[in-house]
């Protein structure tokens, strides 16, 4: 009898505990909660260096924003690792929407993940999705829709800026080489199409395509140099970028041929190369921590350096702009509502470290000016930087709204 009594007592206590626990969790949903951002990015593998750079700046921006709050709330975030894989990225995005109940998703360096999440989650579930590193022009181009935005620069801008820069040079024959995946080909196609339009007498004498991250580019470069083009266009990104510049330096290619590589002037590429970086390579980039030299940029760079001991890269800049946009859009919307948030983001202008920038309403693409420069070693830095910078206007480097509309309706 006594045994049964203590057993019943145990059951009673257990029930009370469970009830208490469920009540403890209930108010969390009932009360007005903070704005919750779900961050989806590749935190493992070679791309992690860019994803972490973005995350750091996002945290930094939120610290500033949360001091005064947005609509009386704070902005909080949760992260999920895509491992640079589309299937994992999709599952993680679903988890963010279903389990974490996030108000919007941001992130991802992988264009494949970005396009898949944009299509299968953002569009279908009507969840706003801001892409912050992926550079595929399709994200806000032909695959764009109401709920997807991009604060990244894209291949359309890269190709156009390259064409703009090269069309002002006297070169006639070109060799195009790059990473054999969509980023490389998109960039090459846009650059060549626009260059040909601006200067019909240019001629492409050859192409080489290698697998992304190919460690040994010497045979490719040797082949290009024996073909003797007037200029060379490299369409590479990420890991291949550093490999290309290293091979350019080793073979002495930059001294013999004019070379344009989109993002060759990126600090993330030039810093690890140190004194090993080639000089005289033309590059285009939408952010440098050392340019433009204005107080707003300096303040951002100093804050980032103070927090993390290194200057911000372009992903950090993109993420910082993204955080500012999110806060401003909620303030403008006046409520934490997905539809109102999307409406507010369209055409929104925000103050950024490089000046006032606009989220273009027609395609949801952030309009960035492009800095065209040449790699150069300066005595005050132990790495190469972009020098002789010319600023190309952002709107001219983007497809027009009509072009976007045409591409989308063709889908």
């Amino acid at each position: 009898m006594k045994k049964t009594g203590s057993f019943m007592g145990f059951i009673f206590i257990l029930t009370v505990c469970l009830l208490a626990a469920s009540f403890a969790f209930l108010p969390a949903h009932a009360q007005a909660r903070d704005i919750k951002v779900g961050i989806l990015d590749a935190y493992t593998g070679p791309a992690a260096v860019f994803a972490n750079d973005a995350l750091k700046a996002f945290k930094l921006a939120l610290e500033e924003i949360n001091k005064e709050g947005v609509l009386g709330k704070k902005i909080e975030f949760v992260t999920r690792d895509t491992k640079f894989k589309v299937d994992i990225g999709l599952n993680m995005a679903k988890e963010l929407v279903m389990r974490e109940d996030v108000d919007l998703i941001v992130g991802t360096i992988n264009s494949g993940v970005a396009l898949a999440v944009s299509d299968a989650i953002s569009k279908k579930e009507k969840v706003p999705f801001i892409v912050w590193i992926s550079k595929s022009e399709n994200i806000t181009g032909k695959k764009g829709h109401r709920y997807v935005f991009s604060t990244a620069d894209n291949t359309a801008m890269g190709g156009r800026s390259g064409a703009y820069a090269l069309s002002r040079k006297p070169y006639k024959t070109y060799w195009i080489a790059g990473d054999d995946y969509s980023y490389g080909h998109d960039l090459a196609n846009t650059a060549w199409e626009k260059l040909k339009a601006a200067k019909p007498d240019v001629e492409k004498i050859g192409e080489s395509w290698w697998k992304p991250g190919e460690p040994d580019l010497i045979p490719y470069l040797t082949n290009i140099m024996t073909a003797k083009p007037d200029a060379v266009i490299f369409c590479t990104g990420g890991l291949s970028m550093a490999n290309v510049l290293k091979a350019v330096k080793t073979t002495g290619m930059a001294e013999k041929f004019p070379i344009w590589v989109h993002t060759a002037t990126d600090h993330a590429v030039l810093k690890p190369l140190g004194a090993d970086a080639p000089e005289g390579v033309m590059g285009t980039m939408h952010y440098h921590f050392y340019y433009p030299e204005i107080p707003e940029n300096k303040a951002f760079v100093d804050a980032f350096k103070a927090a993390y001991g290194e200057p911000p890269g372009f992903p950090a800049f993109n993420a910082y702009v993204t955080a500012k946009l999110i806060a401003e859009a909620y303030r403008k919307a006046g409520a934490v509502d997905k539809e109102k948030f999307v409406d507010a983001l369209e055409g929104l202008k925000v103050d950024t470290p490089i000046g006032m920038l606009e989220m273009r309403a027609c395609d949801h693409q952030m309009v960035y000016p492009i800095f065209l420069g040449v790699t150069k070693k300066l005595p005050q830095y132990d790495f190469a930087v972009s020098s002789d910078i010319v600023t190309l206007p952002g709107t001219e480097m983007l497809p027009t709204c009509e072009e976007i509309q045409k591409a989308r309706s063709a889908q």
């Binding site: 493992t44 992690a48 080489a177 080489s208 460690p215 010497i218 045979p219 890991l239 073979t251 004194a275």
Partner: protein, 298 residues
């Protein structure tokens, strides 16, 4: 560029040289993998991770000496020993208990080890790209056959054969080398005549790791050292030891030459699709000689 135009003797010559120098790196790494495969019968998928650790160690040693030429030479000499040490720890603590398991289990185990080592590298060195510089004498290029040929690749062309000769003397002229070779053919017999097979195995494994580390250190100045560099090399070296003949050191050399040279000539003949050439060569070899070019010890 027209094909006929590209087919000049000097073009063929320079691409042959470039292909040969790439084959040297592949040979150094593949010979280590082949040695472990032959003697231990372990398909070590983590071999690429050891190559990556070799490259990262070379970076650390290079930086320890402030990026001086001395730092470079020390990195080249010491990084393989760092990797050998990692190999010794892994062999004595993990591998030595698993030799009797079937190949599938070993494959799973080494795959797990590859993921673990990859993450350890990330924890230890971070996810940034790293780079080291060859000393002044090996930088830049020299004119060869009317084209420029990187001096560092010339250096690779010297080191590769030296490693091959060293391995030849080791496996044929030293006692432990001979025992290792015998263990590759018939390990029961080696055990039966009273030789401590366990230590022979440990030694063979450590030598395999040393070669992976040497490959990593040698390749470091030509690429950006990064996470993920283990994946490509492990696929390439597995193909090389397969077409060369599993566990056969000279097979690894022949396989590397086939792989390196077809890649280089592929770029010359058809640069848009150069990626596929080495793999086509692999397919042809496997159809022609399914067990590889030379006698497999399996």
């Amino acid at each position: 560029m027209e094909l006929a135009q590209s087919l000049t003797l000097s073009n063929l010559g320079i691409h042959l040289l470039v292909g040969l120098s790439r084959a040297m790196i592949l040979f150094i790494v593949a010979s280590g993998l082949s040695f472990v495969l032959g003697v231990l019968r372990v398909p070590n998928v983590a071999h690429g991770s050891l190559y990556m650790i070799g490259a990262f160690s070379a970076f650390s040693i290079f930086n320890l000496f402030g990026g001086s030429p001395l730092g470079f030479w020390l990195a080249l000499c010491l990084a393989p020993f760092v990797v050998a040490l990692v190999g010794l720890v892994a062999e004595r603590s993990l591998f030595c208990h698993l030799y009797e398991r079937e190949h599938l289990m070993l494959l799973l185990f080494t795959f797990a080890l590859m993921l673990i080592l990859g993450d350890l590298v990330k924890i230890f060195w971070g996810s940034d790209y790293r780079s080291i510089m060859a000393p002044e004498v090996l930088r830049g290029s020299i004119p060869v056959l009317g084209s420029s040929f990187p001096k560092y690749n010339l250096f690779l062309l010297i080191i590769g054969p030296l490693v091959a000769i060293g391995l030849y003397f080791f496996t044929n002229k030293t006692k432990i080398g001979k025992i290792a070779r015998a263990a590759a053919v018939d390990r029961e017999m080696v055990g039966a005549i009273g030789i401590n097979v366990s230590w022979v195995f440990a030694f063979a494994f450590v030598l395999g790791c040393f070669l992976a580390g040497l490959g990593g250190a040698m390749v470091a100045p030509t690429i950006s050292i990064s996470l993920g560099m283990d994946h490509d090399i492990v696929i390439e070296t597995f193909l090389i030891v397969t077409i060369g003949g599993l566990g056969n050191m000279w097979g690894a050399l022949i396989g590397s030459l086939i792989f390196g040279i077809t890649q280089s000539f592929g770029v010359l003949f058809w640069p848009q699709f150069a990626i596929v050439f080495p793999y086509i060569a692999v397919v042809i070899v496997l159809i022609w000689k399914p067990t590889g070019m030379l006698k497999s010890v399996w």
